[in-house]
């Protein structure tokens, strides 16, 4: 087994001690530790320690929402063509870190880690190309019965909270993250609780991409602790509960969401069959959009 702390993978002979990575949060384009100072151990399938991940707190979540809100106007303000290129660039950088993702997933006991990384990169690239096609496919001109020009355009809903599942720690995260941000939303994502390490590495890829700080914020920690605060935060416009497998916790989150008429969504069934093409769709993007309809009279 190869893992982040495995000395044999140093490549400089068995005598060299490997330099393991400290896994931190990715918030506002920076890599803070938790303000709470807490961590939790992430173990491999044999029980061996892979790393200590940050045990993110409610305050970390609030900081991340603030960063996401601050970044939202700038992100949606970019041209769709520019957003597409920036996101495609993330795919390029993920490809460059392919080996690191594979190692982290394999160390965490994920079968066919290479296949999962390939699928994650391909999915990211697939979504990147949607940026400038959404109004053409999801909006349009409406034939109203009167002398008006009337059109409907999709817009991002704003700041989105995402709870990623434990399953497919990189691919599932990417499969839900990409459709959220491609339209101009910003996001606060809680990584797989069981294996958050690839998510943190994805943050490092993002930090060296052209995605502005704050557009994607990645937290690690406990779902039971953080999920209610996602749904109860009044500056979060929508929440994706795909990773919340505890029915009571999901219901509690949905109740909290009602207080601000927050949009709640989750991928299930074929939409959450991560290796399948059914897990990618413009309707996954649409779940985080608002449709705006504009009227103007026609006249000389």
């Amino acid at each position: 087994m190869t893992g982040p702390r495995d000395t044999k993978r140093s490549g400089a002979g068995a005598s060299r001690l490997r330099v393991p990575k400290t896994y931190k949060l990715y918030v506002g384009g920076r890599f803070p530790r938790s303000e709470s100072g807490r961590t939790y151990p992430v173990n491999g399938p044999d029980g061996g320690l892979l790393a200590h991940a940050v045990l993110g707190s409610r305050k970390d979540l609030r900081d991340a929402v603030k960063a996401a809100r601050s970044a939202q106007a700038g992100w949606v303000g970019k041209t769709a063509y520019n957003r597409a290129q920036i996101l495609y660039r993330v795919g390029e950088i993920m490809e460059g870190r392919r080996g690191q993702f594979v190692d982290e997933l394999a160390a965490g006991g994920i079968d066919d880690a290479e296949g999962e990384v390939d699928a994650a990169i391909d999915r990211w690239v697939w979504y990147a190309g949607w940026a400038d096609k959404l109004p053409a496919v999801l909006g349009g001109a409406n034939a109203v019965a009167g002398p008006y020009f009337n059109f409907t355009v999709p817009e991002p809903t704003g700041v989105v909270g995402l709870v990623a599942p434990d399953e497919a720690p990189l691919l599932a995260l990417v499969s839900r993250l990409a459709p959220i941000i491609v339209s101009g939303n910003t996001v606060v994502a809680l990584a797989s609780e069981a294996l958050p390490l690839p998510a943190v590495t994805l943050g490092e890829a993002l930090a060296t991409s052209d995605v502005p700080g704050g557009v994607i914020n990645l937290l690690t920690g406990k779902r039971a602790e953080l999920v209610p605060w996602f749904a109860g935060h009044r500056d979060v416009n929508a929440v994706d509960l795909t990773g919340v497998d505890d029915a009571d916790l999901a219901a509690e989150a949905e109740r909290a969401a009602a207080d601000s008429v927050m949009r709640v969504t989750r991928a299930t069934g074929p939409d959450a069959d991560w290796r399948s093409p059914t897990a990618e769709s413009p309707y996954a993007i649409e779940a985080f959009l608002e449709h705006k309809t504009v009227w103007h009279p026609k006249g000389a």
């Binding site: 496919v137 349009g140 409406n142 034939a143 109203v144 019965a145 009167g146 008006y148 009337n150 409907t152 809903t157 416009n237 029915a247 009571d248 999901a250 219901a251 509690e252 989150a253 949905e254 109740r255 969401a257 009602a258 207080d259 601000s260 008429v261 949009r263 074929p270 059914t278 769709s281 413009p282 309707y283 608002e290 449709h291 705006k292 309809t293 504009v294 009227w295 103007h296 009279p297």
Partner: protein, 489 residues
């Protein structure tokens, strides 16, 4: 000689022009419409519905209880499983076309009944509510057999039984907004009309019978909040569609937590109607009037906050108050009436309380010198100036004929003030500059933006809110999605 260019120096005397009510024949008592038949409520309970313009009793209507809701849901489920679910889109389309045609044929009858039961001016129920209601059925009829083309890459499958709760401000129109897309997509329905305006929905049941819609495809259960709550919490429904207040919408969303039921909400609003100094001001004034005094201001998307550029504030207010003086308030059945009755005593008291708060908080009130009828529920059209964004009349939805006027200097400030609300249903922009319209439209956080117009509706045009004004769209292709599962092709 009277100078006709000077407003206020002459008045026009209007003879009354009442619409006849002879076309409407009311029953004394209405049961529930369940499984294609009229049934007495198991609850044994009834309530009166009155004409809000006269306070006269119109009819007695069944109040559905939990047992009645259960019967209606069972009937809807049975109708779905025994045929409606598997009926071809072409067949469903023809039922909807039939309903649209029958509504057109009986349009005047529906319009008079709508005005009698709800208090809205006959010219609005006649020219807006009923034509649009028929148009919605006609529009969605044509979607029923074209769903394969609506969602690329996915197959559209109906959900099952939809529970639909509609408000009292556009009773028949809201029934059509709810029923037409639900039926077109192959769902069956339990519809709960508003307590104060049940009669047109009950007349619609006759139309459904005449259209030979299979029994149980649409069930109509009248009642108040408790009836709606029983429908929302019934385990046999797959989807809830609600139009009403944000407060009730939040309770419904919380109630459905963890149930897996689908939900769409069309809730309240506090729309900004923004007038720039370069606007065509006479048109803008008409748009302001239409924006807030259409349907007594009982409109979730009403332009209840006028944001006027400081440089033209006095000019706009002068023209607006002059125009306001010409609005005719009174008998909703009079074809000249601009502002009819407030829908209920409860709503009138809510409006009066908010108007009093505006005065108490220091805003300046203007009301035209109009005589309100002695009986019935009426409220003079009202304009508040010197309103600050913190005043209750600038923040809370009044749902009445009350306009709050605020000012701005720059487009940025207009956007900031317009968006400074938890709501996001609609907005208006008045300017002759095209690039500014598009710039503003992009920044206003609202589901509908009317530029150089206001309060336009069409079945092909998606309608719905951002933020606390709800989620989901009604109208057009977008209005299909809330009633469908999109499954992998």
């Amino acid at each position: 000689m009277t100078d006709l260019t000077q407003p206020g120096e002459f008045t026009l005397e209007y003879a009354t022009a009442p619409e006849s009510t002879a076309i409407v024949s009311l029953r004394d008592t209405y049961g529930l419409f369940i499984g294609g038949a009229w049934v007495e409520p198991r609850s044994g309970s009834y309530f009166p519905t009155i004409n809000p313009a006269t306070e006269e009793h119109l009819a007695t209507v069944a109040e559905g209880g939990a047992e009645d809701i259960d019967l209606a849901v069972v009937a809807a489920r049975q109708a779905w499983e025994s045929g409606w679910r598997d009926l071809s889109g072409r067949q469903r389309a023809k039922y909807l076309y039939r309903i649209a045609r029958l509504l057109q044929e009986r349009s005047r009858e529906f319009a008079v009944l709508e005005t009698l039961d709800g208090g809205k001016p006959i010219k609005e129920s006649r020219d807006v509510d009923l034509p649009l209601a028929a148009a919605h059925f006609f529009h969605y009829a044509g979607w029923a057999d074209k769903l394969d083309y609506a969602f690329a890459g996915r197959r559209a499958a109906p959900l099952g039984v939809a529970g639909q709760i509609i408000p009292w401000n556009f009773p028949m129109l809201m029934a059509s907004w709810k029923l037409a897309p639900a039926l077109a997509t192959g769902n069956t329905v339990v519809l709960k009309p508003a307590e104060t305006t049940p009669l047109t929905a009950l007349l619609l049941a006759e139309v459904l019978q005449d259209a030979e819609l299979p029994p149980g495809v649409v069930n109509i259960v009248t009642g108040a909040g408790a009836t709606g709550a029983a429908l929302v919490s019934h385990p046999g429904i797959d989807k809830v569609a609600f139009t009403g207040s944000t407060g009730v919408g939040k309770r419904i969303q919380a109630e459905l937590a963890g149930t897996g039921k689908r939900l769409t909400l069309e809730l309240g609003g506090k729309a900004a109607n923004i007038v720039f100094e370069d606007a065509a001001l006479d048109q803008a004034v008409e748009g302001i009037v239409n924006g807030i005094w259409f349907n007594q201001g009982h409109v979730c998307c009403a332009g209840s906050r006028l944001l006027v550029q400081e440089s033209v504030h006095d000019l706009v207010l002068d023209r607006l108050t002059t125009r306001l003086d010409t609005l005719r308030v009174g008998d909703p059945l009079d074809k000249n009436t601009d502002i009819g009755a407030i829908n209920s005593r409860e709503q009138l008291e809510k409006i009066q309380e908010l108007v009093a708060s505006g005065v108490d908080e220091g805003a300046e009130i203007y009301q035209p010198d109009c005589v309100l009828p002695a009986k019935g529920f009426f409220h003079a059209p009202t304009v508040f100036t010197s309103v600050s964004p913190s005043h209750r009349i600038a923040r809370e939805e009044i749902f009445g004929p009350v306009l709050s006027v605020l000012t701005f200097r720059t487009p940025d400030e207009a956007v900031e003030k317009a968006n400074n609300t938890p709501y996001g249903l609609s907005a208006g922009v008045w300017t002759e500059k095209g690039s500014r319209i598009l710039w503003m439209a992009e920044r206003l956080r609202a589901g509908v933006v009317w530029a150089n117009t206001f309060n336009q509706f069409d079945p092909a045009s998606p309608f719905g809110g951002y933020r606390e004004s709800g989620f989901g769209r009604e109208g057009g292709r977008h209005g299909l999605a809330p009633y469908l599962n999109l499954v992998g092709a």
